[in-house]
Amino acid sequence: MTRGLSLLLAALLLGSCSYRPADVDFIFINGPEPQSIDPAILTGQPDGRIASSVFEGLTTHNSRGQLIPGMAESWKHDSNHLVYTFHLRDASWSNGEKVTATDFVGSWQRILEPATASPYAELLFFIKNAEEYQKGRLKDFSKVGVQALDARTLRVELKNPTPFFPDVAATTTYLPAHLPSVARYGESWTRPEYIVGNGPYLLKAWKFNDRIELERNERYWRKEQVRLRRIDALSVTQSNTALNLYLTGQADLIIDKSLVPPVLIDKLRTRTDFHAFTFLANYFYRFNVARPPFNNLKIRQAFSAAIDRQRIVNKITKAGELPATCFVPPGLPGYLASGGIDYNPSQARQWLAEGGYPSGQNFPHVELLYNKTDLNEQVAVEIQTLWREVLGVPVELKRQEWATYFKSLDDLDYDIARSSWVGDYPDPLTFLDCFVTGRGNNRTGWSNAAYDRILEQSSRETDPARRMAALHQAEDILVAQECPIAPIYFFAGILFYDGKRLGGIDGNLLDEHPLREIYWKDRN
């Protein structure tokens, strides 16, 4: 009996070593199951992490978030940043075919085809006539500003001066698709059995809702710089499960910020393998400007000034988030963010009185809408308390689940609503553009002619300093003068990994962590 038991224990112990697949160099937790890795369809960060490992755009970013060449060896632009010419390097697809300028033209055309219904097509609208083509107002694609001059030269003509276009070209929407495969297999072309890529990794297998297996692409042009040969990307949604996998050695890196158990954050952030950094993302509240009482500027200002942002980041989020009074996160070179409205109880009370409700008397019934997560709820409860203490206004909390919540936002069926925004490229415009009149992401009913005009003018400005000054002016209207939103904090990206053993991972503004740069310090 004892012998049998010890044999069983021994077998289990031996077995426990094999819970990590033997041939895998590196396992990371990628977050929720990717919905698609097709550059024309994907939207989520977990999806993008796989796609940018399997495909490589003209440009790309290194682990520190700096722009580096990808398929383009070099590029130049005219003095107005209106025409970019990319020179492609001699690189191959994983099936041996050459990567050509035509591949990029065709891939972008595919995204702009109205029938593709690509959710991120608007990222291509920097290109001349791209918007007209996607909206069906222009039928002739040759009039869109992208052209293959020869097999290795791509000319891109832009709608407006865009000095940050090389950064935009590094986003996942600009990744090339292997068009013969698309033609042959339709939307199924990204399946492991069909996919042809040009990036550092090949899609070896995709076990649905379990793991994606990546293998180094031996035809990748800088494959000698790719140190990890086999990588597994795990799909995990439960933060406790992610942590358990990491703590028991079944994963080497937790990459998704939503995968840190909030109740453990106090304990976890003291660990040496906890890495937090600010990136381009903002957590904020929207006011419904289309109906009372928040059609009144004074009341919006009062509510914004009554939020003690420092208290939220100290007491609730606690992972090193920065309190936000403006919308554009800090760290964008050359940009000075607006001061916005900070916590100021006496000023808040004064604004409320000026708005017609001294001491909050007779203030109408208002609701704070959020989609239900622990974090949103804790923040909402804290801010509800602040509004009651500072303004004397009771605000009711209203929870909705995901889809219903977006419906309420779109229908402007709320008073105050929680929101967040993650920037796509390192420029203030990726944030400020949301609130231009009529944009789908405006979702506040707010419209301001001066704001629209300044953004419009800034888009034609060729002097970078003057352009940034104009964007600053627009942000000032948004967060200090008009306040259709109340910024609360800038998200912290969180990574879990042992920095003594793993290299090539850094916190950066884009929250991009290219797998091709990751390496084990203690292995070759």
Binding site: L9, L12, L13, G15, S16, S18, Y19, E33, Q35, S36, D38, I41, T43, P114, A115, A117, S118, P119, Y120, A121, E122, K135, G136, G186, E187, S188, T190, R191, K207, F208, N209, D210, L234, S235, V236, T237, Q238, N240, T241, N244, L245, L247, T248, Q250, E401, W402, A403, T404, Y405, F406, K407, S408, D410, S419, S420, W421, V422, G440, N441, R443
Partner: protein, 305 residues
């Protein structure tokens, strides 16, 4: 017997129609779009996607289109996991849920028979009371409490088993335990009661009087009859375990169907929800039918046909 099975299956057809139609209509009437996101999809793109997935037009048209495709045996495409059909998702995930469920079911029945008999044989002794207490604890401990406790003990403090994952026998132990133990506790109480009843029957007294050994009395004579309530419970139990696996699947990161049963509703992924409902409906019907048939075969007092 065949006519009984046919009659039962025919009776479930209207129920099937009502359940599947109700699910579809509720999903389409629920507020919110399957394509809702932090970044708003343009109205034109949303319309194109609705058209592609045949959820455009009036509710009646959508409803008719859905039943038409079901008629062809096509469960539709997932709206969220692009280029995956619902059949494919179910085909990939249901075997994992089934394996987990089967393990948990066998464990529950095994625990029930052994612990229940043990408890009944030692009726009114300390052993009986300890077993009953454990069973009570097992029923009261939900899997989302039991699972982290077992992980803490057997994966983190004593690194014997993996904390999560699926694929090797080592991975199966903890999830099956977590899913099976509470039901095992329930089965224990069921078998104990029934065994006590049987052990007081005249024919057991006769067997003992004839000098049959005690183990033989319990296991050969009494257990067969004492297990009857357990068998009639096995059908609903199996269905319960299968549909109740979502929490255990989430905690242990098991790529099963349970997760989609809940998440697809939140995502308004209407065809995936429909597919899950069809699968679980079919399982419930068949497992209950199987339980009834088994019961009728074992217990001649029951006449179903």
């Amino acid at each position: 017997m065949l006519s009984f099975i046919l009659k039962r299956l025919l009776l479930t057809l209207p129920v099937f129609f009502i359940v599947v139609s109700g699910t579809f209509l509720l999903m389409r009437l629920a507020p919110g779009s399957p394509f809702g996101a932090e970044r708003k999809l343009s109205p034109e793109n949303e319309a194109r996607l609705q058209q592609r997935f045949h959820i455009d037009g009036t509710l009646g048209q959508q409803f008719a289109a859905y039943w038409k495709s079901l008629g062809r045996g096509d469960l539709g495409d997932s709206l969220k996991y692009r280029n995956r059909t619902v059949s494919e998702i179910i085909g990939q995930t249901l075997p994992n849920s089934a394996l987990l469920g089967l393990g948990a079911l066998l464990l529950a029945l095994g625990i029930g028979v052994v612990a229940g008999s043990y408890s009944a044989v030692h009726h009114n002794t300390a052993r009986d009371r300890v077993t009953l207490l454990l069973a009570l604890a097992g029923i009261c401990l939900p899997s989302f409490v039991l699972a982290p406790l077992l992980i803490l003990l057997l994966a983190l403090l004593i690194p014997l088993l993996p904390a999560a994952g699926w694929g090797t026998p080592g991975h199966y132990i903890l999830p099956m335990l977590c899913l099976g133990l509470p039901y095992g506790a329930y089965c224990t109480r069921l078998v104990r009661t029934s065994m006590l009843d049987v052990l007081n029957q005249d024919y057991i007294r006769t067997a003992r009087a004839k000098g049959v050994s005690e183990p033989s009395v319990v296991f050969r004579h009494a257990l067969r009859v004492a297990c009857l309530p357990l068998i009639s419970y096995a059908g609903p139990l199996a269905a319960n375990i299968l549909t109740g696996s979502m929490i255990v699947e989430a905690i242990f990161k098991i790529p099963g169907l349970g997760a989609f049963f809940v998440n697809a509703v939140i995502n308004r992924d209407v065809f995936l929800v429909g597919g899950c409902v069809i699968v679980y409906f079919t399982l419930l019907v068949f497992l209950n039918l199987l339980g009834d048939i088994l019961m009728a075969l074992l217990d001649r007092r029951i006449r179903l046909w």
